[in-house]
Symmetry: C2
Subunit: 194 residues, 2 copies
DNA sequence: CCCACTTCCTAGATGCTCTAGGATTTCTCC
DNA sequence: GGAGAAATCCTAGAGCATCTAGGAAGTGGG
């Protein structure tokens, strides 16, 4: 019967390619099996179900994303770090739309807890913001603002949501500049005096 | 045979409820037919296909959203308008997750062009920003930043993406404050003199 | 070489989208 | 009120997806 040599790793890798090519919504067990020249049912020995496949892809993509960001941010601080972070983030989202879409799905909290990638993401993000001298809860608020803006921009851009006749990359650079200014002029939590 | 009295309007209204209850991804023709106690095939007299149903829901929800925003913004300007805009936006997204998710889908440009709701959205957004005295291309850049942040925040929040132990509403208020500051300190396009 | 394990298969249940064509109710207009 | 037109809802069925159960054929260790 000439085995193809399936494994969870190969499945996830192929799923990543498939998602990038056909869109995350069109990632199906059938399509993945077709890509390996194998029957659908065969994949269920390696992956529990479609949900499981998606989750694995999400964690895989999350890891790739944070690796890129970490490499870009390494050795930089302040505005340089912010720009590098943002650039790596958007680049990955545009380069791998299917993988990026995968990172948006809801994942079981238990899996998140022991996913080193996602913890690393938090560390790097908070670390980058330390240069701006924010304390909690402002720090968490700032992280949420950054995540929202980056994520929202990439989603809207890759969905073709920006119709106006203005270079999308230029708007991004401006947005990052604006965020830098925001972080420097952050409306800090008052310390009960005044 | 006792007709139920289907119509496009009733279908879209029921689809909106269904999407809010079961999630936009679980909005299916079958489920909608079940809700009316009718066979799947019957719906295809009113709606071309699932894609068509989704698009109609998206336009419907987009209209509802901008109506709320318009009502909130009316008679306000500057920071007050921004806060009202943001509040109405987030409120709708949290109150109607399925409808809000529908507004995110890609829609044919032709349909967008003759959708009064979406044009109104652009008008109101640009109008609100006029108070900050920005000129193009800064104006478009600012609109993109606002949309990205609002959208990204609501998506992440309703997906449970904010795990930290900090009130999500407080972070939102802070983000809106931060955006206001950003708009006031906007890094304007230089006019060729230094 | 044999046994256990893994890989991949066939077969089939279930659920979804969507088309074709028919029947029945409701509307329209004289 | 009644006949023709139109709209509404139906049955039947094709096609494709997920997923389970159980079986056959490769693979590796002792």
């Amino acid at each position: 019967m000439a085995r193809v040599g399936l494994s969870v790793q190969r499945l996830v890798a192929a799923a990543a390619e498939l998602a990038d090519e056909a869109g995350f919504d069109n990632l199906s067990v059938s399509a993945l099996a077709r890509r390996f020249g194998v029957k659908d049912a065969s994949l269920y020995s390696h992956v529990r179900n479609l949900q499981d496949l998606r989750t694995r892809l999400a964690l895989h993509a999350g890891g790739e994303l944070i690796d890129r960001i970490a490499a870009a941010v390494a050795g930089r601080a302040g505005k340089e770090a912010l720009t590098a972070f943002a650039g790596a983030y958007r680049e990955y989202a545009l380069e791998h739309p299917g993988r990026y879409a995968a990172t948006q799905i809801r994942i079981d909290q238990a899996l998140i807890a022991d996913s080193p990638a996602l913890r690393r993401t938090a560390e790097i993000t908070y670390g980058m913001l330390r240069a701006y001298g924010l304390a909690e809860p402002d720090l968490t608020d700032a992280v949420r603002l950054l995540r929202s803006t980056f994520h929202g921009y990439c989603v809207l851009e890759s969905a073709g949501g920006f119709g106006a006749d203005r270079d999308v990359g230029a708007s991004w650079d401006k947005a990052v500049d604006a965020l830098h200014i925001t972080l420097e002029h952050w409306p800090r939590e008052r310390k009960s005096d005044d």
